[in-house]
């Protein structure tokens, strides 16, 4: 299969490459479909070959050659080390504390990393009914750390969530502890404009990294609260030729007829 490597880097590609880099080798990842699945597979195919992918459909150690469109594609089972029932994947594996990294997306995020994937507007009379929490509430609570991926805009980075589907840091720095959550919470939020990380004290998300071509002004404009910017703001290294080639080959498998 030949793939284009000369086209400019898209926003999704940048997010995916940055997310993949956030994974060190031998990490056990609980993965949802879409960008997270692409990022985890990209890591596996580049710098972190022993990354373990766990899908909520019950496949453990899947090594798909083609990107799955759904969380339960047949290839995930065929290439897995083990396939277990869905109650077991949540009870023994996620709640059991065996997941290093959970990937989450969302429609809205607030400054303490709490997520909304349930509704826009009022719950009873929603403007937009979103898919809902799915595996996210327990991934957010139980994974040792959480990587969040979503595009940055005033509609997604909001002062106040319309619904709290999953807990980041709750309402205060020690809320996770109070709520008995074993995981550390969201350690990095990757957007199409940059990267945010929680302040070690207040847990408020701080812009720590900016992608090539984006400006701090632009990021501030797309954030629904007064955004704090790190004094040591870094610029993201663009995807390397190898990253881009692997990524585009991967994405091509998603569109190709099977």
């Amino acid at each position: 299969m030949t793939t284009e490597t000369e086209a400019p880097v898209s926003a999704d590609e940048m997010m995916t490459a940055v997310a993949a880099r956030a994974l060190t080798d031998e990490t056990v990842c609980f993965v949802g479909v879409g960008l997270p699945s692409t990022a985890a597979n990209l890591a596996r195919l580049t710098h972190a070959p022993r990354t373990v992918l766990v899908y909520e459909s019950g496949t453990i150690g899947s090594k798909p050659r083609n990107l799955p469109l759904s969380i339960g594609d047949g290839e995930l089972a065929e290439t897995a080390d083990a396939v277990v029932p869905v109650p077991e994947i949540f009870a023994y594996w996620l709640q059991g504390g065996r997941i290093d990294v959970g990937f989450l997306g969302a429609a809205q995020i607030d400054r303490l990393g709490n997520l909304n994937s349930t509704v826009i507007g009022d719950y009873e009379r929603p403007k937009v009914r979103l898919p809902g929490g799915g595996g996210a509430p327990e991934i957010a609570a139980m994974a040792k750390e959480v990587i969040v991926m979503l595009r940055q805009s005033r509609r997604s980075f909001v002062d106040r969530l319309d619904f709290r589907s999953s807990v980041g840091y709750g309402d205060a720095p020690d809320d996770r502890k109070r709520l008995g959550m074993p995981g550390r919470g969201p350690t990095v939020v990757i957007t199409d404009l940059g990267v945010l990380r929680p302040d070690p004290e207040s847990r408020e998300l701080v812009l720590t990294q900016i992608h090539p071509g984006a400006s701090v002004e632009q990021v501030r404009e797309q954030t629904g609260w007064p955004l704090r910017v790190s004094e040591e703001l870094e610029e993201t290294e663009p995807p390397s030729g190898e990253e881009l080639r692997e990524l585009r080959e991967l994405r091509a498998t998603l569109e190709a007829p099977r």
Partner: protein, 273 residues
């Protein structure tokens, strides 16, 4: 011993207006043929239960079968919204739809509790989320009697009817499932009545790696329904029709296009898309 019935007989006999019905299959083995048969039988006021409503419940909700939905993730996987579900929730079309919303982990625990004849399942979850506040009838914080730690109890699910699809049954009605097994066993065991649709009925169930067997005496009825999981997939028989999942976004966008798809592909009895 499971009865071997035609799909039409099975739905006519097992599913009644007002029932709580779970058609399960986690992405894999979604019982589309059975869902279409329920639409053709014009069953009404159903409480539909499924972790991921998927296209099958989008179709059943759009066709007016459902009064209530119990679920944990209601999107079109990898594509976007379930537009008929949204239309029902946002605009009461064709009729209002009550929601009982949980997380995946909570739903899985509720099914397992039902299969175990326990009144509730236990997990660490929901805390700090608005799901907890929205679902007080079915989620409650309880204290560990030994450590005092707070955990969450979720009410067991015991559907009136549980329906799953499987690869095979033998002529005695023993059922074999392999690949992603999801919550198939839990649903059959948790439900008062159960139906398993299968790709084929065979003389003997040859053992296979990763396969589970549901013994005939734990299954209510078995009905042959080849390609009965399409456009989802049946491991070892056919792949997921990702193209159809993508086309559904267009088909389901407008009430008219949806209605005409249902007319032509379900109500006409012409079979699955």
């Amino acid at each position: 011993m499971a009865e071997l019935l035609s799909l039409e007989e099975a739905i006519a006999e097992l599913v009644r207006d007002g029932d709580s019905v779970a058609l399960e299959g986690f992405t894999h083995l979604i019982p589309f043929a059975a869902g279409h048969e329920i639409i053709r039988h014009e069953r009404r006021d159903l409480t539909l239960i499924r972790m991921t409503p998927d296209l099958i419940y989008d179709q059943m909700i759009g066709a007016g079968c459902a009064r209530k939905l119990i679920f944990s993730w209601g999107g079109n996987p990898g594509v976007g919204s379930l537009r008929r579900l949204r239309d029902a929730v946002e605009h009461d079309w064709p009729i209002p739809l009550e929601l009982e919303e949980h997380s995946h982990a909570g739903m899985a625990a509720r099914y397992a509790a039902g299969a175990s004849n326990l009144p509730f399942g236990t997990l660490r979850g929901y805390v700090g989320t608005e799901l907890l506040e929205r679902s007080r009838d079915t989620v409650a914080e309880i204290a560990c009697p030994f450590t005092g730690e707070a955990v969450v109890a979720v009410r067991a699910l015991r559907p009136d009817v549980g329906i799953v699809h499987a690869q095979r049954a033998d002529r005695q009605g023993n059922v074999q499932i392999w690949g992603i097994v999801g919550v198939q066993k839990e649903i059959v065991l948790a439900s008062s009545r159960s139906l398993v649709t299968v790709e084929e009925v065979v003389d003997e169930l040859e053992p296979r790696p990763g396969a589970i067997v549901l013994p005939s005496w734990a299954v209510g009825a078995v009905a042959e329904a080849p390609r009965g999981a399409h456009p989802s997939y049946a491991h070892g028989y056919y792949d997921r029709d990702n193209g159809f999942y993508q086309r559904w976004d267009e088909i389901s966008r407008e009430r008219e296009s949806f209605q005409s798809w249902i007319d032509q592909n379900v109500l006409s009895g012409a079979g699955v898309a």
